[in-house]
Symmetry: C2
Subunit: 434 residues, 2 copies
């Protein structure tokens, strides 16, 4: 029995996928039963490092998703359209789908999975989060017996690379971003990465799997790293933290029903140096899952790149082929590989978040300033863990505050009051603390 | 549809398993279709924290494995017998089996999987390695598309706890072992842990899955941690290493065919501080898998304990239930969940290993000693990375040597020659370097 693949896209990931499928020796034996049947590309003439018979290539992607001989469509063209339409057409033609497209799944997952369940096909997406790191599959198959409390990830390699270099070199964001762009670690248009949008797509997908419900992407709170300064990294270091862009999905404390709101968010965060995520540096990704009774488990690896991402794509193909092979008269979809969520998770607004905060203030250098700060925080039930005057810059005193766990809404109200104090010059940084 | 479980054993892991199955809310919905049907225990009268209807309990374990109503037998009694016989009888009666028993699988895996394939049933073992950490399943399902180069793990929590404390406190092995025993982190008879036998069982299982062949346990080289001294930990620290008990399975360099010998071994190892495994401390476990094209991925979590291990056991139950549910008329076993290995992997003798070494010598304090050491190493093609005289103890000079990659047989021959030198007092430590 051979399973026929229609590959949409022959860019970095498509090429890596083809390389694995064309050279199956010393890999899982089932791979030798998987055949690249057609490949959709933008241009037939482009020189490519991978040798594929010319007859396989076509620029007519629509003809692939409707080809009756194809069992599995692999979408690795990226972007929203035509990827979304091609996925939906493939499903309508009864094809199983493997995709690496976090943007499409996080926005149109509802539409796509509803269609897939109706058509009785699988839509697999291991490559959408964490590159080659197996995290989607463990969430679906191994960790689901737990009551998941939280998923916390470093899921964007570009921002982790920039923050790691800021940490090591003491440089400023803009300078290191420019260098990362020259070195190819950041895109010419870095918005999706540095503003946290890519990480938001990914945490929406992870939250959906961890908490068994769909997630509305616009409800995911998202804050990027462009305002993180070298000064904050240095203060965080002194206080025992490193700054990481974390993507976090968390169930409300003590609330275990699926109806209780989740907190789903992306923001730069002070991470204690002893925390397992603190040592994840450079372009590496890691996802920490906490649940009952498993405790903490963490998955670590390269979060992007041709090889790792192709490994995830081909593992999805292999899983579909394995199920198809063992279930010729299947009654229903495999319940751990298919999507069984119909309902949306309730997501709490960011004001309801309970977390610690770090804030840096520039104030006039006068006696009583710390007292006034403390009073304003106290007026809004914000309890402080530490207040340190770290130095004098341009005749302004710099004060760094770390709070205990507080409701974000209360903290914001306290800041609004503090901004009206005549001794306060500015608040250059506000960051959350894990 | 309900799947009926026969649970053999109600110790720590059995109790944790029952706790999850008896309280399925906010876990995977399929768990509510899994029923604890009978529980085999040694004594009916023992008080237990988990409430199970008395009628479920029996001391007649044989009657469980032959009960026609039971779909899945869960073996969590541990030890070799009667565990092995009960597993084989369950298989003979057409039951699927979930086990946490690394000792039985590493010794009798051949017999058990041959029987399981003949009977058309699954034998699942996620809990046998790494507690709750999903590592068996990713090796079977996600990573198999890669050409695996190596699996390197910290897979024994007791020894990692002891080495971590030796590192932090500077204490000696014997003292910290005694304290670990008092605190419950080490068994009264610590042999299986400190001599590396438990880790050897686990790496045999991981190697089998990673390299697609069976492993003969006596061919796994095994060296424990009882000879690691505080002095070595201190020198390693100065040289930029920490000492960990690693379990390693590695394909020969440049040899990709399944017939080329593997190196499979357990020994204390100097791990560079920058290596991802260096920061795994205390009772945590981590398994690092390297392959092509995925690069490095690492799995991290608690390697033992009731909750984590039960999470792994129940995830195996869930996977079997999912397959059974979706494949009422299955043609064959699911190829990624069943065992497809019939052949044994060739394992190279330890003399063939190519690795770096660390060795500590006590010598007479005379000029020319380092020259003689260097000459002897050179005579056997052992190239040195560093030779440092670290101090004088009781009128003996202490010299620490780190080699480049050498064939272990050559290194041993050089040591034999060095032992005959009249300026050499003793060689208190020989350790491999990652």
């Amino acid at each position: 029995m051979t399973f026929k693949i229609g590959l949409l896209g022959l860019g970095t990931v498509g090429m890596g996928t083809a390389e694995i499928l064309l050279d199956p020796r010393s890999r899982h034996p089932l791979l030798s039963e998987i055949e690249i049947y057609r490949v959709g590309v933008r241009s037939l003439d482009k020189p490519r490092p991978v040798q594929l018979p010319e007859a396989l290539l076509t620029t007519d992607l629509e003809s692939i998703v409707s080809d009756p001989n194809i069992d599995i469509v692999v979408e690795v063209i990226g972007g929203l359209e035509p990827a979304r339409s091609l996925i939906l057409k493939a499903i309508a033609h009864g094809k199983h789908v493997v995709t690496a497209n976090k943007a499409v799944i996080s926005r149109y997952g509802d539409e796509i999975y509803t269609a897939a369940n109706q058509a009785g096909v699988y839509v697999m997406l291991e490559a959408a989060v964490g590159g080659g790191i197996p995290v989607i599959q463990p969430l679906k198959q191994a960790l689901g017996v737990n009551r998941i409390h939280s998923v916390t990830g470093i899921v964007n390699g570009t921002t982790n690379y920039i923050l790691s270099r800021m940490q090591t070199e003491g440089g400023e964001f803009g300078h290191i971003l420019a260098d990362a762009q020259q070195l190819g670690y950041a895109e010419a248009d870095p918005t999706a990465d540095v503003d946290g949008l890519d990480a938001a797509d990914k945490i929406a997908i992870l939250a959906s799997l961890a908490f068994g419900g769909r997630i509305k992407l616009p409800e995911v709170y998202c804050e990027g790293i462009s305002k993180v300064s070298a000064a904050d990294i240095a203060y965080a270091e002194k206080l025992g933290f490193v700054i990481k862009l974390l993507a976090i999905a968390k169930r409300g404390l003590g609330e275990e029903s699926k109806q209780s709101p989740l907190s789903v968010r992306v923001h730069p965060t002070l991470v204690p140096k002893t925390h397992p995520l603190a040592s994840i540096s450079g372009v590496y990704n890691a996802i920490l899952v906490e649940g009952e009774p498993i405790g903490q488990v963490m998955f670590y690896g390269r979060g992007a790149g041709s090889g790792p991402t192709a490994s995830a794509v081909v593992s999805d193909i292999l899983n579909i082929a394995a199920v198809l092979k063992s279930t010729l008269n299947a009654q229903m979809l495999h319940p751990l590989l298919s999507c069984s969520h119909q309902d949306y998770c309730a997501i709490a607004p960011i004001d309801e978040l309970v977390t610690r905060f770090y804030a840096r203030f520039l104030t006039l250098d006068r006696p009583g300033v710390i007292g006034k700060l403390g009073t304003s925080f106290g007026n809004h039930n914000v309890s402080l863990e530490s207040v340190v005057q770290t130095g004098i810059h341009n005749e302004l005193a710099e004060i760094v505050v770390v709070t205990h766990d507080v409701r974000e809404g209360n903290f914001r109200q306290a800041l609004n009051e503090i901004r009206t104090l005549d001794t306060i010059d500015s608040i250059p940084s506000i960051l959350r603390v894990l």
